[in-house]
C-alpha cells in the first residue's frame, strides 16, 4: 500500500530525492497508486480552476485609506520626536515670558485668570444676616475689604467668600434676582483689565460658558457673571450700572 501523504507530497513536488525515487517505484508497480495520483492531480486542478475570485477593489481602497492615516500619524510622531527638544524649549520660553510679563504688570487682571482666582479661594462660604439692613451692611463690609463700594439694590445676596490669591484680595459674592443667579467677583489692586471686548464702559466676554461683564472701580476689577442662556451682556451691563 502506497503512503498517501507521500503521494500527495509527490503531486505537489515536495519530496526529497530519495522519497521521490521510492514513490516512483511504487507508481510503476501499482496501478491503483498511479490512479490515485491522477485523482489527486485532478482534484488540485479542479479546485485551482474553479475557486471563485472575490471582488475586492473597494476594500483595497479602504485599506489604502487606512495606510494614509497611519502615514499621517507617523509623520506627526516623527516630527514631534525629532523636534521634541525645540517644542519643549518653545513652551518653556512661553511660560517664562508669561511669568516675566506678569512680574512687569502685576496689577493687570486677565479675564482668563478669574477662574483661577475663584478656585484659589480657600475659605468657606459665609451667609449674610436675614434682616435687609444687616444684609446691606454685610455686603458693604465684604466689598470694603477690597476697597470697592457697591449697592445690591434689587439683588438678593445669598453668600460670600473672600481670600488672598496671587497677592490680590478677592471677594466672591453669589446673588440672585427674579431671572436667576448671578456671581460677582471683585479683585483688589488692579490697574487694568485684559481680555474680552470693549462694550461701552465695560469689557464683555465669557468665562466658563457664562456671560461676563468686567469694569474697574476704586482700583479694583469687578466681574459680573450670569448664565448665558438667561442673560445677555447688555442685561449684565445694566445690572452692573445699578450696582455701581
Amino acid at each position: 500500500m502506497v503512503n498517501l501523504e507521500l503521494l500527495h507530497a509527490y503531486a505537489d513536488g515536495e519530496l526529497t530525492g530519495a522519497e521521490r525515487t521510492e514513490v516512483e517505484a511504487v507508481l510503476k508497480a501499482d496501478p491503483a497508486a498511479a490512479a490515485e495520483l491522477v485523482a489527486i492531480r485532478n482534484t488540485k486542478t479542479l479546485v485551482a480552476r474553479n475557486a471563485r475570485a472575490s471582488e475586492c477593489e473597494d476594500l483595497w481602497k479602504t485599506c489604502c485609506g487606512r495606510l494614509d492615516e497611519i502615514d499621517k500619524t507617523k509623520r506627526v510622531e516623527s516630527f514631534v520626536s525629532r523636534y521634541a527638544w525645540g517644542l519643549c524649549a518653545l513652551f518653556l520660553c512661553v511660560i517664562l515670558a508669561g511669568g516675566v510679563l506678569r512680574k512687569l504688570n502685576p496689577n493687570t487682571v486677565r479675564t482668563g485668570q478669574v477662574a483661577s482666582y475663584v478656585s484659589g479661594l480657600a475659605g468657606g462660604w459665609s451667609r449674610p444676616p436675614q434682616q435687609p439692613e444687616g444684609r446691606r451692611e454685610w455686603f458693604a463690609e465684604k466689598l470694603g475689604q477690597v476697597g470697592a463700594e457697591m449697592k445690591p439694590n434689587q439683588l438678593v445676596v445669598l453668600a460670600g467668600q473672600d481670600g488672598i490669591v496671587d497677592n490680590h484680595h478677592v471677594v466672591r459674592l453669589m446673588m440672585a434676582d427674579s431671572v436667576g443667579p448671578l456671581e460677582l467677583v471683585v479683585v483688589s489692586n488692579t490697574d487694568e483689565i485684559e481680555g474680552g471686548q470693549e462694550m461701552g464702559r465695560f469689557r464683555a466676554g465669557s468665562i466658563n460658558g457664562a456671560n461676563c461683564v468686567a469694569w474697574r472701580q476704586n482700583g479694583c476689577a469687578a466681574f459680573l457673571m450670569g448664565d448665558s442662556t438667561q442673560r445677555s451682556h447688555e442685561d449684565l451691563a445694566e445690572i452692573a450700572d445699578a450696582l455701581k
Binding site: M1, A39, T43, N50
Partner: protein, 188 residues
Amino acid sequence: MLWGKRDLRDTFERQAEKVFPSVFGTALRLTRSREEAEDLAQEAIVRAYEAFDRFDGSNFKAWMLRIVTNLYINKYRQRQRGPQLHSFEEDGVVEPMAGENEIPDRLLFDEELGAEVEEALGKVPEDFRTAVVLSDLEGLSYQEIADATEVPIGTVRSRIARGRSILRKNLMDYAMKEGYLKQGTNNG
C-alpha cells in the same frame, strides 16, 4: 527616515495591491464570512505595512498570507461562534479514494462548479482547509505553509492529504447528484 517613508509606502502599496485578491480570498475562505474577511484583510494589510521594514524581501505573497493566517488563528478563530468541524484525527491513515468513484473529467469543465468547490471547501475542517487553500489556491510550499500555520512540515503534509481527501469526497457527492457519476461505477 521621514523622507524615506514615501518610497516605503509606494513599494509596499505596489506589492500589496498585486497580492490583495489572494489576501482577501484566503481571509474569506478561512472566516467564511464576508464581514469578518474584510476586517481580517484590512488588519493584515495594516500589520504588514507596519512591519514592512522587517520584511526580508524573499516572497511577499507568502509573507502576507502568513500574516493573514496568523492573525486568523490568534484572533478571529477564537471569536467565531459555534462548534468547529474538527473531529478528524490528524495522524490517522488517509484512505485511498481513486478507482471506484473517481471524479470524472467532465466535472473538470463544469461551468457551474465554482460555488460547489467553495461549498465543498467550506465543509473541510478548518486546519485542513487552511492547508489546502494555502497549497492549492495560493501555491505556497509546504515550508511556507508550516511557517504560516506554525506547525511542523509533517503536519502540513498530513493536513493537505486529509483535507484533499475530504474535499474529493464532497465533490464526488456533487458529481453523483448532478449525474456525472453513478454509484458504484468506475471512472472512464
